[in-house]
Symmetry: C2
Subunit: 465 residues, 2 copies
């Protein structure tokens, strides 16, 4: 090395220290928010000005998939970058974890928080967890420094009899839910601090906690996982938002979440760290259609939560970060599964090689709007593989849509849809495209082999009485 080379190297190094700082990452994850529930995704009566602006200044993805069509497995997929079948977090026996469940996310899994810990990030989980509520399964044991939120769904431990007459409740679009009917604990780290959690103010309290965390960590890299427990039923909005939306209580809830996101983005800008922060907004699955006007809308997509039709798994996804994201509308596929690999790249690491990953690096799309590296997506539900997407094609080999999730679907052989041209999955074109069907069946066969070493079912075990 001559002097000149050495000098240039030093310059780059200094420049690197000054500028190439690992970015902060905020993942905002809603519960049961549908593809059609934001104004920028076509909702006529819910106003989401902050998310609309976020979509305009960042990237609005129109083909983005939650890892699973129900809560627990979807969250496992987002945090690990692996299909939930691999970690045993989807089950034929129980769809999600319940208050009597003994299981949770296995300690052998590496979460996004643990990934960020390898670069000494400070990490916080705010909101709904739903990956195990026994002490060993809580966020503090999965890489998070702090936790503030509820350990499972906001409708659990409901008063006896409450769901018996739910049809009656649900037919009143102005039904006034009472949080005292749901004995859900609010936790701070590993302690219960309020029970039942006052859900009227829970969205606002999650937002406040998030902003406090950001303000306390402006001088070191942080990872914030803000998993709103709404708009999952029962629905609650704080007094200032009640009756604000024409859409009713469901719209009030979304508008309060939207307002909070506006406050978070404003905080990033006021603190001067917006240019070095990536904010991701998305949802854990589609709308819970069984709950009528108390559930959301999948917009033009077919069916909703609990199904592997697009309405069950395709969700709004907005990536924002003035220093990272090149604005635009992105219509190539991506998934919450990809956040793991994407964040690995952001902190200068390669994707994990010590286990099978299902995560793609989306940074070329975020930074330069290149085509997505995700070529296929597999639709799992209730422990079984239902469908696969490759390019515009989606092949259904199975459809399980329990009444509980609002739709019953009869299946006669396989069904093939072109998702780009037939956006509502209306026209089965399997017959005319035998070759495509065969290619996709081959992909499915390979994927089933590739997932045959899955961990055992973690959702079925119950706490001993």
């Amino acid at each position: 090395m001559n002097y000149l080379t050495f000098f240039v190297a030093i310059l780059f190094y200094i420049n690197g220290i000054g500028q190439i700082q690992y970015p902060n990452v905020i993942v905002i994850f809603c519960d049961d928010l549908g593809y059609g529930d934001l104004s920028t995704y076509g909702n006529p009566t819910i106003h989401t000005p902050n998310l609309d602006r976020m979509a305009l200044e960042g990237q609005k993805w129109t083909q983005f998939y939650a890892a699973d069509p129900v809560c627990t497995p979807s969250r496992a997929g987002l945090l690990t970058g692996r299909y939930p079948i691999r970690s045993g977090m989807t089950s034929k026996k129980r769809g999600v974890l319940f208050p009597d469940s003994a299981g949770g996310l296995p300690k052998s899994e590496m979460t996004l928080a643990e990934l960020f810990k390898t670069r000494s990030y400070v990490t916080s989980a705010v909101g709904k967890w739903h990956l195990g509520h026994l002490p060993e399964h809580l966020p503090m044991n999965h890489g998070f420094d702090h936790y503030y939120g509820i350990p499972y769904s906001n409708d659990m431990n409901a008063k006896v009899g409450l769901w018996g007459n739910y049809e009656e409740l649900i037919n009143d679009p102005d039904y006034d839910w009472d949080y005292r009917n749901y004995d859900v604990p609010l936790m701070e780290d590993d302690q219960v601090i309020e029970r039942p959690a006052n859900q009227n103010t829970i969205t606002q309290r999650y937002t406040d906690r998030s902003i406090e965390f950001i303000k306390a960590n402006t001088h070191r890299p942080f990872f914030l996982y803000l998993a709103h427990s709404l708009p999952h039923i029962p629905l609650f909005a704080s007094y200032g938002f009640r009756g604000r939306s024409k859409r009713g209580i469901y719209g009030d809830v979304i508008e309060e979440i939207d307002y909070g996101i506006g406050e978070i983005l404003k905080t990033l800008q006021e603190e001067g760290i917006a240019d070095n922060t990536l904010v991701v907004f998305t949802s854990d699955n589609g709308p819970w259609l069984r709950f009528k006007t108390h559930g959301g809308s999948a917009g033009p997509l077919r069916a909703g939560k609990g199904t592997t039709f697009e309405g069950g798994q395709r969700v709004p996804a907005i990536f924002w970060g003035p220093g990272i994201v090149r604005p635009g509308i992105i219509d190539t596929p991506g998934s919450t599964l990809d956040l793991f690999h994407t964040c690995s790249t952001l902190i200068g690491k390669k994707n994990r090689k010590d286990r099978k990953m299902d995560s793609y690096d989306l940074t070329p799309v975020l930074r330069r709007k290149e085509g997505s590296p995700r070529e296929e997506f597999f639709y799992w539900a209730f422990g079984e593989l239902h469908a696969v997407r490759s390019g515009p094609w989606k092949l259904h080999i199975k459809q399980r849509a329990p009444v509980h999730y609002g739709q019953v679907v009869e299946m006669d052989g396989v069904e093939l849809y072109n998702l780009e041209k037939d956006i509502s999955e209306k026209y089965n074109v399997a017959e005319a495209n035998g070759e495509v069907v065969n290619e996709l069946l081959m992909l499915i066969k390979e994927h089933l082999e590739h997932t045959s070493d899955a961990l055992p079912d973690q959702l079925e075990a119950k706490i001993a009485e």
Copy 2:
């Protein structure tokens, strides 16, 4: 009057001459474009950056209604500000005008063009007319100085047998339509200049003609009615747009229209007249679902063209005008019927009093985002009143959805929907809201009385053989 008052009055007068010039008005009217076909209204694979920007800089209306769910009556309603039943332009016998029709818009009607003529505007109609193709019914006889376009739908005079196998055509999403199969004339003023019209380039030619007209009239007020003949089937895009959209040929067509609108807005800005121009973008009815991927999407709305469900009549509507329109999302009702009264106000005239009008002044909404003055909307189809909307409530008393329009709907008594909370018209709440039903039935009764002096059916007469 003392000197000071006189002086101030003169100042105001001069200021008035200098500034309060009547605005130019451009109405861009698509054919069969659905509520869900633009990116800003939630379409995942059609990219409409120009319309998205227009929506952002102007007003995006989410509860805006075409006057009727099919072509001819919808156009009559837009141009006259009166429900088409009043002018005899909707019929139980023939849904629209055909090449063998003898009728057209009665000369006794006053059109938007004739309204603007009272202030000496220069007026031009570009695109599809469909209000009578015999000489006496053409645009030149309804207040337009110029006409360039096709006199009826772009699928008319089809080759014998072509529609016999339409199911086959339509099941191929890449079907390559041939304009030579449709013997549709292209007219300039009252002359046929090309037959069959080369529809491959028709969108681009409409755009070019519109831009020429704007550039030739930058120093006097003008009214341009640009009624694109697409995306009505058969579908055509010019070579530069073919294969551009992931959505297939349907998306290509929309993206070419979008591009042209970008050029028009750019022209207004380059010519320095954007601040004194109002541009309205909307559609004549919902998507023609019978044509599968060759038809559009109603997004979250129920059904499509030919029906009085929301998917048949609620359409995208964007109002743009930097000097006139206060930007925002508007979710109060409006209709193409309201353009007449709105334009009357813009040119300093009161609404017409010599006949029954169904038009409301939307300028308080456009200028100041006040609530819409439109309290009710009546849904007519095929010469019959089907439904009424008042506030959030919509009452169906009849549903006619011929197979030809892709949906068949059985009706059992009346149906009541809350359109704000139940955006997809899924939950009939008539039983629980008897009082609302009665109020709406009363509105219907009054409206039927108010329209009982309608002109006779103008659509049924055929040219004598």
